[in-house]
């Protein structure tokens, strides 16, 4: 609470000082989605070469963080891996902000397994029974699997904290669908999921834990993990998460990634957004393991 006015003061002071000393050095505050933070950082690092007068300060924390900061008016651009809710838009309007939405890319939400796990594919129903409230899959043997290194046979369900856009998207796509199909009692997570504070923590934990199953953006995948092949219907052919399958939307849990500006962007913020959506910006996004908004030819 208290930190915000102080932080704003420093930002304001920094802007004043820098604008006095380095002519027209604009600072863009960019904050939010943990899924987007890597590419946002890459954009911010590449941008000074294009426009040396602008500095972009990037921080993560989760989509909720970015959206909350947008509502509280403390950022110029908020990153989110989920859409802003109507309630949040209303709240932002009430406090004098006018969030404008941009889709800047797509991300495949990968389901991670320990590399020794023999499981290869999951349907929405199976995932629902593992992750969802009232689901009856709590042991790997329930799926007919024997996971080496997992003596207790218990499935360790790794999830994200409740303000994460990744958490919200997994819930609204996979768990809602499973609830509709009637395999779980409610379209929300079961109790006892380990709620990690970032995509990287999910990856770290699943890498080290043979019994674990988790999910996060594809860009966070490492060689020490197994990525599950996903199908919507039981028995249907499954699709593996890749940049290509996210681009052509054949991967069932691919989601748009958003950036929100306060009002229609103007000046340096508009230039920055235009550059992000240009081929150059989209190629950086593609290189980081996300799917661009349209077909781009990158070197």
């Amino acid at each position: 609470m208290k930190a915000r006015p102080i932080a704003m003061f420093f930002v304001a002071a920094a802007t004043v000082i820098s604008s006095q000393h380095l002519a027209a050095n604009d600072l863009i505050q960019n904050k939010g989605s943990d899924t987007l933070v890597n590419v946002a950082q890459a954009w911010a690092e590449a941008y000074p070469a294009i426009n040396p007068g602008v500095t972009v300060a990037v921080s993560g924390g989760g989509s909720g963080t970015g959206i909350a900061a947008m509502i509280n008016g403390t950022v110029d651009i908020a990153n989110a891996s989920r859409k802003m809710k109507d309630k949040e838009k209303k709240k932002a309007k009430e406090s004098g902000q006018d969030p404008v939405e941009f889709v800047v890319g797509y991300d495949a939400l990968a389901v991670f397994l320990h590399q020794d796990n023999p499981a290869t594919e999951f349907s929405f129903t199976q995932l629902g029974k593992i992750f969802g409230r009232g689901g009856d899959t709590t042991k790997w043997s329930d799926l007919g699997l024997k996971v080496p290194g997992c003596g207790s046979d218990k499935i360790v369900v790794v999830s994200r904290q409740n303000n994460s856009g990744t958490n919200a998207y997994f819930k609204s796509s996979v768990l809602k669908a499973a609830a509709k199909a009637g395999v779980i009692s409610k379209g929300s997570f079961r109790q006892g999921t380990l709620d990690m504070h970032g995509s990287k923590d999910v990856v770290d934990l699943v890498e080290k834990t043979p019994c674990a199953i988790g999910y996060s953006g594809l860009a966070y995948a490492t060689d020490h993990l197994k990525l599950a092949c996903i199908s919507v219907e039981d028995g249907a052919s499954c699709v593996s998460p890749t940049v290509a399958t996210a681009s052509d939307r054949s991967y069932p849990i691919a989601r748009p990634l958003f950036m929100y500006t306060n009002g229609q962007p103007k000046g340096s913020i508009k230039e920055y957004m235009d550059w992000i959506l240009s081929d150059a910006g989209q190629c950086i996004l593609k290189k980081k393991g996300y799917a661009p908004v349209r077909d781009v030819n990158c070197m």
């Binding site: 809710k85 709240k91 218990k154 409740n162 109790q191 999921t193 380990l194 834990t209």
Partner: protein, 310 residues
Amino acid sequence: MSQVRVRQTGNMPDINQRNTDWYIDKIVQYLVFLSGISAIILIVGIFVFVTIEGFGFLLEDFSFREFFLSQWWEPTDDDEPTYGILALMAGTASVTGLAMLVAIPFSLGSAIYVAEFATGKTRESLKVLIELLAAIPSVVWGFIGLSIMNPLIIDIFDVPVGLNILNAGIILGLMAAPIMTSICEDALKAVPDRYREAAEALGGTRWQVIYKTVLPAAKNGLLGGVLLGVGRGFGETMAVLMATGHAINMPGSVFDSVRALTATIAAELGETAVGSPHYQALFTIGIFLFTITFIINLSADLIVRGIRKS
């Protein structure tokens, strides 16, 4: 008083003259007074602030039944957000409880050793070390839990994850032990030597003197020390956040991951919109925590004071 001063300073002509010394004296008096009452101002200020922030929730969305009896903490659910802290309370209670099981024998043992047995250099260096132990930042403890205890617990007990009640309980017990040791040692020292002498004169061995005479006499002080340790465990955040696994869960065994009340506030507060029901619900947890730790610390203080007076 003024006479004393005149005699001390000697060459000061008139004590009532408002010279620089007089002003410095006044200013310092006020500054010291301000620092003296600052604790009161701060604690009242914090309580008022926390209450104001959480008040909207208490008036509108708060339901006593749901808040204390529901085990579902889902403040960000689109359809029907639920604010139940039962599972979080169970998490905090189980971790603190285990921490006390670890810390009480530890701290009581070392307090008895330092107060009754150790002498000279051993005693002095032990006291310094114990205070040093209390100064280790909680994030360092959390890191130990995350990177050392976690694989150790997995190896020894063959459980899927090592981030659980056992891990956090041991870490928290080690964190609470130094402060409990210091206070328990003070309590043992406060027992007059004539008690020991009398017991020894009756032919008691060293252990009999401690067990039958010193410990009963220091009973209240020891209880106060333990209660302060409980308060410390209750309010600890960072280490608990890192070592419990951060899973909302009704624990069934020490190998279950849980989530603490404090950790929930720490993890979620920075990421909610100011003034939203979720934000206010977190402050309501804050009020609840504040009340509990206040009661624990107050009763500890009263018990310790009780023994000093009598």
